[in-house]
Amino acid sequence: MYSRRAGAVVWNLSFSHPLNDWEVGDFASLLTLLESVVVTESVRDRRVWASNSSGRFYVKAYLEEANPGGIVAFPTQLEPLSALAAEYQSGSRLARKNKGLFLCVSVHVLGEEYAAIRRTRGDGNCFFRSFMFSYLEHILDSQDKAEVDRITAHVEQCKKTLQSLGYADFTFEDFFALFLEQLESVLQGSGNSISHDELVTRSRDQSTTDYVVMFFRFVTSGEIRRRSEFFEPFIMGLTNSTVEQFCKSAVEPMGEESDHVHIIALSDALGVPIRVLYLDRSSCDTGGVSVNHHDFIPASGDPHNAAGGSSDTINPIITLLYRPGHYDILYPK
């Protein structure tokens, strides 16, 4: 792992894959951390991070030991947008990666329109996790029965799409059932309705959320395959793979990150408008102090959404903040 060159310790780290841009910051801090390590060669090696009783090493156990104050639970509690600004000023991980005074300004601009942020777990499923929480919260707050009926019809349609694409029912039915169950539980007066606090708790449960994430992945994949001619050019531009390969390798496996293709497909399939604000280097191109946003409005021709027509009449139900490699939930003022 390390060698001595001219008296100085040199660490030879090897990587299983090339560094992603969001990992560069972490790697830099690892190197800084390693610099402070003094290796005493006369002392026998020993394990500092002990295995558990079954002889296996768990990152979780290590984290618990390293963070006695507790690990941050995702989705987090609502934080004022000033927390985001503070993060950039103090130069935290994401901020350092984005290097930015300019972004600092952008965050303040963001603060004019948005009141708060809720962070989601950064495990590659964050778009779907954000969508899940944000949508269920919207239903919980609005008690919009008509919207629930509308999306339920869409979910039914998605199920038929998957069946027609040749998916066996048992591969997806559990995931669909669990989503509908969550949907029902946020409507009050259904017998097993839940409070806002409980929605947060439930959204932190790995098993429940994994099922819902997988539900969205099925819906997204089904929509892309159903309209493969429409999506093909997007996918070719993004990954140079076929629609089939893309769905198998970038949509259906858990932990695969979402791009605009996923967002368009999910938004269209469920008929839910989504707004995404982009806080990345591309913001610089505009030259001014504005934050780019893009509205994903469900494809027209949809009987449930035909009323709108012009895009500015549709209010996005879900607003997300995108920073390279990650989505969080934003709350407008």
Partner: protein, 227 residues
């Protein structure tokens, strides 16, 4: 927590059309965590006519985590270890999705038998064989352990899959292994094999000897005990 209801559905779904697909999955224990699957060798490949048995273990997180699969039947293939049957296939690793099933995974293994992925070899021996001995006759399984020892003395970084550089040699070896380890008669012999194994003879030797003497247990034993 493994979703047993789903596993149950998968098994009945898969075994319902076993006559068409030839793919079968049966539990090895009563808790459905340990299964075994069989796939027929694809027609038109050196594996044709063989029946390949695969050990399947379901991890706690199934179907969110991939099933652990390993060939029990010995097979000569660049992406399958000829030593322990370990498989190198993306969908059994990071490309797994809950949208896949045990049956689709087994179908992928069958596809892998038809179309090896030489850029991602699991078996260094199969991959290096040609590189080290340019003129090779189809490899006899009995020579294999010795050869493996020789090969492992040389550490080579260039992957030059045998089947790409010298397909006839590769196909010949693969076919020989299929004949020896994956044919129905060698599977029907399980009892005799087991008996001889208990006497302490190595499995490869037992199977090839049995085959040589036309599955006659007594003759095989005589042959196995020289003098």
């Amino acid at each position: 927590m493994v979703d047993f209801a789903r596993v149950q559905k998968e098994l009945s779904e898969c075994n319902r059309d076993v006559t068409i697909s030839g793919i079968r999955i049966v539990p090895q224990s009563d808790n459905l965590l340990h299964l075994s699957g069989t796939i027929p060798g694809p027609i038109g490949t050196p594996y044709e006519g063989g029946t390949f048995k695969i050990d399947i273990i379901l991890p706690d997180g199934y179907p969110f985590e991939p099933p652990k699969m390993q060939f029990i039947t010995k097979v000569w293939h660049p992406n399958i270890s000829s030593q322990n049957g370990a498989i190198c296939l993306d969908i059994l690793k990071d490309q797994w999705s809950p949208a896949l099933t045990l049956k689709t995974a087994l179908l992928s293994l069958q596809a892998l038998l038809s179309a090896p992925e030489p850029d991602d070899p699991q078996d260094a021996v199969v991959a290096q064989q040609v590189l080290l001995s340019p003129v090779l006759t189809p490899m006899h399984p009995l020579d294999f352990h010795l050869s493996f020892f020789q090969y492992s003395l040389v550490s080579i970084c260039v992957w030059a899959p045998q089947y790409l550089r010298d397909y006839p040699t590769f196909a010949g070896t693969a076919r020989y292994w299929t004949e020896t380890f994956a044919k129905t008669n060698s599977i029907g012999n399980e009892e005799k094999v087991q008996k001889l194994l208990e006497m302490g003879f190595p499995e490869d030797l037992v199977r090839t000897t049995l085959k040589e003497v036309g599955d006659d247990e007594t003759m095989a034993l005589e042959k196995l005990c020289p003098g």
